[in-house]
């Protein structure tokens, strides 16, 4: 899959219906870059939701912190992109640490509500445009003065694509490293039975805070990349709808699995944008991307509780039944790790 993503910008292949124009045209590359960013954001969120079992409704806040942070520093204060990013991402981590330390004193639904409320404050503040910093409802376009030349201009869209791919790779490496480390197993244990982890002498609060800060940092980084790819920040990325869509992505793909959230995020972002483009030509409610995605999501919760990642193992009995029987083929096939 990664190989396809690397080769893609050199391909002039045209897939009519799926993309407008050949694969290496700037429009398609930007669409793909956005999909990659969301794949990374969804996997980062899944570190909280699928692995540690923390249903946060405020993840958008840290994405917005990254996007607006870098946007404000570059556009208003004329900082260089790299210094702005180097300040913004740690700032998002500190914000996550501060708010997380308060929110994690509650658990369950109360935790969800507190994170939702914190994020809502962020959304309100951004909409009110304090001191003309955030641009209010209009959003804040990223001024190209502080950007390196490689990220400006339509010709250089391919570099944004590389950047998005690099971001996704970083998130995948971090999350998979955590999965393999003892920390990952402890987080899963926390999700399944918090009391047990406490009895083992570990501090659930500290572990959860660690996961919260890590996810917040990845979200901040994702926000920076997002602002670069779409050329600015808008209040939408601070809204609770963004968090809800991250949840939808994670669940649709398969929460807590290795690749589920990545696939879910990529597909969701793709469908969201394509359906919006096709909107006018589809009949009735199908012209609304959220109607299609919301309905798909509900169906997925009912009929594929493990998300897309679980479909493989769910179809396994069917495949085995259809396979022609040979002598010695009686024992079940080894189960893949998609659970």
């Amino acid at each position: 899959m990664l190989l396809v993503a690397v080769v893609l910008p050199w391909s002039t292949l045209s897939l009519p219906g799926l993309f407008e124009g050949p694969l290496n045209s700037p429009g398609t590359l930007q669409l793909l870059a956005i999909c990659l960013v969301f794949a990374g954001l969804a996997l980062g969120y899944d570190l909280l939701f699928g692995r540690a079992g923390l249903l946060s409704f405020g993840h958008a806040l840290y994405v917005a912190a990254g996007a607006y942070g870098v946007d404000i520093l570059v556009s208003h204060y004329g900082w260089q992109l790299w210094t702005a990013a180097a300040v913004t991402v740690p700032a998002a981590a500190v914000l996550a640490a501060l708010l997380g330390s308060v929110a994690l004193r509650t658990s369950g639904i109360a935790f969800s509500m507190v994170t939702l409320a914190f994020a809502q404050v962020g959304h309100i503040v951004i909409n009110r445009d304090p001191g003309g910093l955030t641009g209010g409802e209009e959003g804040l376009p990223l001024s190209s003065a502080g950007l390196p030349a490689m990220f400006t201009g339509v010709v250089n869209t391919v570099n944004l694509y590389w950047l998005a791919l690099a971001f996704l790779t970083v998130v995948v490496l971090v999350v998979h490293a955590i999965d393999r480390a003892p920390l990952g197993r402890t987080l899963t244990g926390l999700r399944d039975d918090e009391r047990r982890i406490a009895v083992l002498g570990l501090s659930p609060y500290r572990l959860k805070l660690l996961a919260f800060v890590l996810a917040g940092t990845l979200a901040g980084l994702g926000g920076v990349i997002y602002a670069l790819v779409v050329g600015g920040a808008s209040p939408h990325i601070a809204s609770s709808e963004l968090t809800l869509s991250l949840i939808v992505m994670a669940v649709l793909g398969g929460a807590g699995t290795r690749w589920g959230a990545v696939v879910g995020g990529f597909l969701y972002a793709y469908l969201d944008q394509r359906l919006a483009r096709l909107g006018g030509s589809l009949p009735g409610p199908f012209g609304e991307p959220l109607f299609v995605l919301g309905t798909l999501f509900i169906l997925a919760v009912y009929f594929a509780p493990g998300g897309l990642a679980s479909l493989g193992s769910r179809l396994e009995p069917l495949r085995r039944a259809l396979r022609p029987r040979r002598p010695g083929d009686g024992h079940p096939a080894p189960v893949t790790d998609a659970v």
Binding site: G108, A110, M113, V251, L290, G294, I298, Y302
Partner: protein
């Protein structure tokens, strides 16, 4: 002085709106354990149903129809979507999230994304003079409706058999089922009541803001969530007290502070309450 009176009554009007939404949410959460993100959808459904027929039927029948449609939506959602996922709380929350996304989009595709002008009775547009303050009469409509609903709900919960089952179910659901009472019927009932109250709130919100839009329910819902958590999940009187506190705080701080400070102070209040009394004002035990 007159400013204070006006602000207080406007704040109470807002509080009335929050209470109408929060009381249904609170009952649903207290009994069925479902955090209902689709509640904002019930609100919009009721408002749009009333708006559609208000031209031809007149306002009073339109209001009744709006409430009935919202109640039916609540019952339908419980029967079709929530019931099969009984005891799987995370999935239930996810389904209501999906429903709120899809439902608002559906409303948008039928009625368009733009706000519609909502009709109101002529007397609600008039202005009443109290203690030197010129107060729009629609505030009293909202406050009156909320007080009636509060009294009605309390009477229903205290004096009827279903009310008894609901109160007992909020306290200990497993015990009620063990006594041979089908709690699931009570689930449908609280969803219907919640839907009806949300429909009423949607119509009153339409009169208060004099317009309706598909996303209106969702934006009111967040403050209703805050009211529910501050009041204590499952408590109607707690929701009432919290709604009054939130509505007044929001109005006064928004007027005397900078724009948006009121909304922020409400969240600060939420954080303070959760840290000092994690189960809310009227909370007994912390929800699992």
């Amino acid at each position: 002085m007159s400013t204070v009176v006006l602000l207080a009554l406007t704040g109470l009007g807002l509080a009335a709106l929050y209470f109408l939404i929060a009381s249904g949410l609170s009952l649903v959460f207290g009994l069925a354990g479902v955090l209902n993100f689709a509640h904002g959808l019930f609100l919009s459904v009721g408002a749009y149903a009333a708006w559609t027929v208000s031209e031809s039927w007149g306002l009073a029948p339109a209001v009744l129809l709006g409430i009935a449609v919202a109640a039916a939506t609540g019952a339908l959602v419980e029967l079709v979507l929530i019931r099969p996922l009984y005891t799987r709380h995370t999935e239930q929350v996810l389904v209501t999230v999906g429903l709120s996304l899809a439902g608002v989009a559906l409303l948008q595709s039928v009625w368009g994304a733009d706000a519609r002008v909502f009709p109101r009775p002529a007397w609600a547009s008039s202005v009443v003079s109290i203690a030197g303050a010129q107060v729009p009469a629609d505030r009293f409509l909202l406050i009156g409706a909320a007080v009636l609903v509060l009294l009605g709900l309390l009477a229903f919960l205290r004096f009827t058999r279903y009310g008894l089952v609901i109160r007992a179910g909020v306290e200990n659901r497993d015990m009620v089922s063990a006594l041979g009472i089908d709690v699931r019927n009570a689930f449908t009932l609280v969803f219907t009541i919640g839907g009806a109250l949300a429909g009423l709130a949607g119509i009153l919100a339409g009169m208060y803001f004099s317009s309706i839009s598909p996303g209106q329910g969702a934006s009111l819902l967040i403050f209703a969530f805050i009211v529910v958590v501050i009041g204590g999940l499952g408590s109607v009187t707690g929701a009432f007290a919290a709604a009054v506190a939130v509505g007044l705080l929001q109005q006064f701080v928004n007027y005397y502070g900078t724009a948006g400070a009121g909304d922020v102070s409400v969240v600060a209040l939420l954080a303070a309450v959760l840290l000092l009394r994690p189960a809310g004002l009227a909370g007994k035990a912390a929800p699992a």
